[in-house]
Symmetry: C2
Subunit: 252 residues, 2 copies
DNA sequence: CGCAGTTTTGATTCATCTCAATTTGTGTGG
DNA sequence: CCACACAAATTGAGATGAATCAAAACTGCG
């Protein structure tokens, strides 16, 4: 807790660094997707600068005034909501090219926390100016809408997971999702490091950390994966996928 | 099933009726919120017509091409997603003034189903034209973003519910949410008819219908509510709220 | 090298699911 | 308008998956 308070001061004295979409290898994955060169220059002017975060540092907190949305340039984040009565729910994990902060648009106040799970960099996108620019650039406007809609659809997937799946199905879905997102970023589909703890995975999946750990162990015993702490190697992706289709194959 | 197929044809031969935001008593709750009279006229021109649906009829289905978003003018809807393997998750219930269909923006294909739970009316809002108009009307643009963001925040709340709450807490949260939304629409906060079945409530809350029924019965035995089938009367809203704060009051 | 945080594993408890039987409500057609 | 059939809801008994409580092992950081 104290550590976080201290860390929260750091960005104010850390000069932002200059970023440019046009130079970024994530541009096909991120907000500038589909923009012409000249339009991308205009977006570059708007975005201005980036921000570096150390592991454990908050990008923003629930209750903070909303000003920016953020594009993950490198690193790994989690977002979580907490209630007055102490419940804590991880709502997502974000990696390079993904957009953070859209929870703040509706009330101008952020409703969740965003925390770097490893040293990370983000691009700061001032939202009011983004709205102005997007009213001039149709492609940008439409893409912003797509990004927000994609988040809604993703959330529906999480609801499905939390509402209908058993523990091992949830973990299987989680691993497949990570694998797919790593693949899209040019990393190995079968071998990766988890940046989050068992407890954070558990919170995201609606499970206790012990249940997550047991499910990992069981997957390993069954030859589906190899786990060593945070290092995961997927051994049999087909059988992991099969876990998501219930044995009875009920339809309708 | 056959009934649905038949119903699906009806709207094609049912002439749409004319709607006008400027005449609508939901305008302070719905998309035109905050617009000037002249801007609202422009929105009216865009929206054009509405559509009536009978109970059980689909407004749209997963897989259907995306063209409109819909404002609920009257009635009550549910949205649900289903997977190939037969899982079914209700993702939300929508009432007057709420917007449906934003799941379709990201891929131009709807990813969930929207079904009328009673005879209902919606306004059809052609999305491409809405984007064009919103690039000219700042207020409209910003409000559209707020509506989408609000949906994201709402989804986070559902994740919290599904991920951290026990059965009676989920039902309490559900009842309080309905009560609040009815209140905002000028209906009684304490007495209402549920438009959905126990099974649909259960799907939304990640519970089996029997568990929902038992929780209702328990609430009634404890004097929190009075239930008779779909008719609900809230007797002690404070104690229902208290159910959401765990007894130990753990913090942080 | 030691300590704190994380992870694994085991034994037990408990909430919810499952299966099953009734009851109640609703819509349809005679 | 009533009777019937079907859908929805209630309630009970028992099974089960995940939570809880507890202890030990591992990892990485200072």
């Amino acid at each position: 807790m104290h550590a976080n308070v201290k860390q929260n001061v750091v960005p104010l004295i850390t000069p932002g660094f200059k970023v440019a979409c046009s130079q970024c290898n994530l541009r096909e994955l991120c907000l500038p997707f589909g923009l012409s060169d000249s339009d991308m220059d205009r977006l570059d002017n708007l975005i201005g600068c980036g921000r570096k975060l150390k592991r454990g540092q908050h990008l923003y907190r629930a209750g903070a005034p909303f000003e920016f949305i953020y594009a993950v340039k490198s690193g790994f984040f989690k977002t979580d909501v907490l209630t007055e009565d102490g419940r804590d729910q991880v709502t997502g994990f974000q990696m390079a090219g993904e957009i953070l902060g859209m929870d703040g648009i509706s009330t101008e106040i952020h409703t969740c926390n965003a925390v770097a799970l490893e040293d990370s960099e983000v691009c700061l996108i001032p939202f009011t100016e983004l709205e102005m620019l997007s009213s001039e650039i149709r492609t940008l406007q439409h893409h912003l809408h797509k990004v927000m809609s994609r988040e809604i659809v993703r959330d529906h997937g999480v609801m499905m997971l939390l509402g209908t799946m058993r523990a091992e199905e949830r973990l299987a879905a989680f691993l497949l999702n990570l694998s797919q997102r790593f693949t899209a970023r040019g990393y190995s589909p079968t071998e990766f490091h988890l940046r989050m703890t068992r407890e954070e995975i558990g919170s995201y999946l609606g499970l206790k950390l012990e249940t997550v750990s047991r499910a990992f162990s069981r997957f390993q015993d069954d030859g589906l994966i190899s786990v060593q702490q945070k290092h995961i190697r997927i051994m049999d992706i087909l059988r992991i996928k099969a876990l998501l289709a219930p044995p009875d194959g009920r339809i309708g």
